[in-house]
């Protein structure tokens, strides 16, 4: 894999009239899958569309695969794949017809029939684009973004409005792209999507990146995670504490209800359950409450992600 970043955005500012959509945003995306996460109006689409060459920065610099998306547009366009948030297809065109057309604009396109099959677009048949379901339209836009065998794919809310099955198909394709060495920048306001797919997550709010890291890193920060179980009252918490890593705390909150606070990972869970086994305790209702991206987002912005 290449080691240089696929996208480098520095101090990007973009205004529409008096409204500032992006306000000094810095973002570096390494090869792999990067999720740009944020609520509606955070500046996700503006940022991505600046990378795609659609918008000229008011200030700041943008480099995509080392190129300036506006100045080096001719060189960059064949190397990227773009999925717009909506539209992009002739209303009278059929799905396979449009996909075949985009394939013809590229030198080494994917096999169109295989891609149609893969994304379940075969059932669209002779139906024109305007009569396709929202999910079919989304999948066609996704197919159009990857058919030219790009190095980098931009997906703007690729699963918005999809049913769970279609969503899964999209996720599977993103994973396959990643496995074959295609980098992906995707915007989303679904936490689970970012957690499932991304190597790296950039959280955007108010036109800036307010946190960036792997999903694990982001979830590690902030509040501690919690493990709870119930057992017979009066267990020797001191002995449990000795078995646990140093930065953990353990307590019996109410008789028979125990809580361990610390870095909850598989090792910790194994330590607790083996301690229970040694002491002949059946840990009923054992549960872990791990910090999710959703919590991280709430802590950072004080906002619910989905609006």
């Amino acid at each position: 894999m290449r080691s240089e970043p696929v996208v480098q955005v520095q101090a990007l500012v973009k205004r529409y009239g008096t409204k500032t959509a992006v306000n000094g945003l810095d973002l570096v995306a390494q090869p792999g899958v990067t999720a740009v996460l944020g609520p509606n109006g955070a500046g996700k689409t503006t940022t991505v569309e600046t990378c795609e060459g659609y918008r000229k920065p008011d200030s700041g610099t943008v480099r995509v695969l080392g190129l300036d998306p506006v100045r080096d547009s001719a060189e960059l366009r064949p190397r990227i794949g773009v999925m717009l948030q909506s539209g992009g297809v002739y209303s009278g065109a059929r799905a396979d017809e449009m996909l075949r057309h985009v394939a013809r604009l590229h030198a080494h396109p994917l096999d169109v029939d295989a891609l149609v099959e893969r994304l379940g677009l075969g059932s669209c048949g002779r139906t024109s684009y305007r009569r396709l379901s929202g999910g079919q339209q989304q999948r066609l836009a996704l197919a159009m973004a990857v058919v030219g065998r790009p190095e980098l794919v931009f997906l703007d809310e690729p699963t918005a409005g999809l049913d769970p099955q279609a969503r899964r198909a999209t996720w599977d394709l993103v994973r396959d792209l990643r496995a074959d060495g295609v980098s992906v920048i995707l915007t989303t306001h679904h936490m689970d999507e970012a957690e499932q797919l991304a190597d790296d997550v950039a959280i955007i709010d108010g036109g800036r990146v307010i946190a960036q890291g792997s999903p694990e890193e982001l979830c590690k920060g902030g509040a501690e995670n919690t493990l709870r179980f119930t057992g017979r009252p009066g267990l020797d918490v001191g002995s449990l504490l000795k078995a646990l890593p140093a930065d953990c705390t353990a307590a019996e909150l109410t008789p028979g209800a125990y809580r361990v606070v610390g870095k909850v990972d598989p090792q910790l869970l194994a330590t607790v359950t083996s301690w229970c086994a040694q002491h002949g305790v059946m840990p009923d209702r054992i549960s872990v409450e791990r910090h999710t991206l959703e919590d991280v987002f709430l802590e950072l912005t004080g906002k619910e992600l989905r609006s």
Binding site: G53, P78, V82, G87, G88, V89, G92, L105, V182
Partner: protein, 255 residues
């Protein structure tokens, strides 16, 4: 590293292939669209047949079909290069087609070249159809075919500029309404089926400056009266073409 299905292998197709593919798709979309066909094929054909065979409008001396055919050819050019192109491009802009293609390997000028090629292909189909019908109705054309061709090309350039200017600046719905209205007004007041003499001397001179009047008048001079190059009409079309294309180039918004 093993090569997977999606392993990157980017590259633009050769330019001529991209433009040909784009022109073919645009033409296919146009021929598939019922309303566009009504405008570009059905209406010119009906007008030619109806007014040639039924004596509704006084077309002056000579056979009605000899007066009407040049006007209908001008109308056909207008319907494709102006009305059809404005409406189609307006909706392509509205539905993000232009935007999506702008990030494809096809350069913008390549897209515009393809649109022009698609307009020309459609015009050839229209002209072949209308010519066959006109001959069946007893048309006897005169003049130099090269002169006719030059007028048609100048007319196409003039109408394309105006159509793209409208499509690139107005909302799609506004373009739809305005392009149809202009089509109707110019059909009546542009010397297509009604001689401009009917509008009085002042009206005739003002209306004569419209692109469709210049095109139908120029074509009529050559095809009906066997005249040489009608420089005045060609000049009017050239001015419209330069102004329209320059304004479209300056003000066209892609999304």
């Amino acid at each position: 590293m093993t090569v997977g299905t999606y392993t990157p292998k980017p590259g633009a197709a050769p330019l001529p292939r991209m433009i040909a593919a784009q022109a073919a798709l645009e033409t296919k979309m146009l021929l598939r669209n019922g309303e566009q066909l009504l405008l570009t094929v059905v209406i010119p054909t009906l007008l030619l047949v109806l007014f040639s065979s039924v004596d509704i409008v006084d077309t002056g001396k000579g056979e009605a079909v000899d007066f009407l055919t040049p006007g209908i050819l001008a109308l056909a050019v207008m319907s494709t290069a102006f009305t059809g192109q404005a409406i189609a491009t307006g909706f392509e802009r509205r539905y993000g087609v232009l935007k999506r293609l702008a990030s494809s390997p096809l350069p913008r000028w390549g897209l515009m070249t393809a649109k022009t090629a698609s307009v020309l292909v459609t015009e050839i189909l229209q002209i072949v159809l209308l010519t066959v019908i006109a001959f069946a109705l007893g048309w006897s054309p005169h003049g130099n075919p090269a002169t006719v061709l030059l007028l048609l090309v100048a007319g196409t350039a003039a109408f394309s500029g105006l159509g793209l200017l409208m499509a690139g600046t107005l909302k799609a719905e506004a373009t739809l309404a305005a392009a149809n209205l202009v089509f109707l007004l110019l059909l009546v007041g542009g010397g297509v089926i009604v001689p401009l003499e009917k509008f009085g001397s002042a009206g005739r001179h003002v209306l004569g400056l419209l692109p469709v009047s210049a095109l139908s008048d120029g074509l009529r001079d050559v095809l009906q009266h066997g005249a040489g190059m009608p420089w005045g009409d060609l000049g009017i079309l050239a001015v419209w073409a330069v102004v329209g294309l320059a304004a479209a180039g300056r003000f066209f918004r892609w999304e």
